[in-house]
Chain length 214, copies 2
């Protein structure tokens, strides 16, 4: 019951984040395009794909074990697929910001945001491969799996929280590059940051809550 | 043994963070002062107190149960005192940045950094009071304490990680305000950010590792 309340609130956070990010990027910013003379449209794909793709999907993948009362094997496959969508979206999201930098001759990888972000997505890919090999195909022996599972969960949470940190530093960068102060858009950007932080906390809480075994 | 290795590495991180923050603020920045015509000296107290005081001391307070083989009651008192030093340092650190803003007529509380930061220190104070009342004086019954303990630990970790997020956004703000790109100081600031992130991860890992009971 408590677990259900927590996962339901987490899904409400997801809806709020999606709405507010779209509202921000379409209403206050320039919208989206992969090729455009308005280079900011290319940039805007970056927060869109990283937040609505990478962060939301990987969080959903993590809470699925508590949110959906399905068979273990089915949950594993969903966990894997959601993480794969997250990874694909994350890689595409990194590509868009590199494309944006290239077209405006902005140097790459000089901020803390980029350092933590690239570490996150690399570790995420590694964790996905290790998880796939250990828990699905070819799959380790059941005793080994049981031994590795807590580490898989711990490092999974660490990588997810690194993604949250990356998002917060990214929003902070954008906020200051835009020279926002006390206005409408500043509030929207900051509330996106607060909602993403809450999402991180609630995904962590969901993972920490005890599992209902089928 | 594994726990000892982890806490030792965590302490090495502490030494690196202290060294690098001092090197940054003294060598690249203006140094420190509470009253000065060089207002940046007042500002510099803020990262000093928040990182070397608030974050380092609260992390140390959290890992003490795994790092020091002392009696439970002694550990509790040390945990409480280290957190009190962290809180005092954190409140003083917030004061210095408000003082800096006031003297230069910069508006308060408009960034995500300030929002998350003030939430963190408020929750930290609340958690300290609740912990004190529950576990030390007057202290709840032992069954209640056992029930509250995992929540105390969970929210403690959440608040600590919020402090890490605040530090990363703070460093990001400063980095962009200073218009750093690919130079010496940029590297120093980013490495401080990476070390603080690692400290957060290793404190979390120490908390997650099993407790050696005396």
């Amino acid at each position: 019951m408590a677990t259900m309340m927590v996962t339901m609130f987490t899904h409400l956070l997801v809806i709020s984040i999606i709405s507010l990010v779209l509202y921000w990027l379409i209403n206050f910013r320039e919208g989206f395009a992969l090729t455009s003379p308005v280079k900011m449209k290319i940039f805007n794909l970056h927060p869109l794909l990283m937040v609505l793709g990478f962060i939301i999907f990987s969080g959903e993948a993590m809470i699925i074990y508590k949110a959906i009362p399905a068979r273990r094997q089915a949950l594993k496959v969903m966990h894997l697929i959601l993480h794969l969508i997250a990874l694909g979206s994350g890689i595409f999201g990194v590509y868009t910001v590199f494309k944006f930098h290239n077209e405006l001759n902005i140097p790459h990888m000089y901020t803390l945001h980029s350092w933590i972000g690239l570490s996150t997505i690399s570790l995420f890919g590694l964790q996905w491969l290790l998880g796939f090999a250990t828990f699905l195909f070819p799959g380790a022996e059941s005793t080994t799996r049981a031994k590795i599972a807590p580490w898989h969960i711990f490092f999974g949470v660490v990588i997810f929280l690194m993604a949250i940190v990356t998002a917060e530093t990214g929003l902070t960068e954008k906020f200051i590059f835009l020279k926002l102060k006390l206005g409408q858009e500043a509030l929207v950007v900051n509330f996106i940051g607060i909602l993403i932080l809450l999402y991180g906390i609630f995904v962590g809480l969901t993972v920490a809550l005890p599992l209902r075994r089928k």
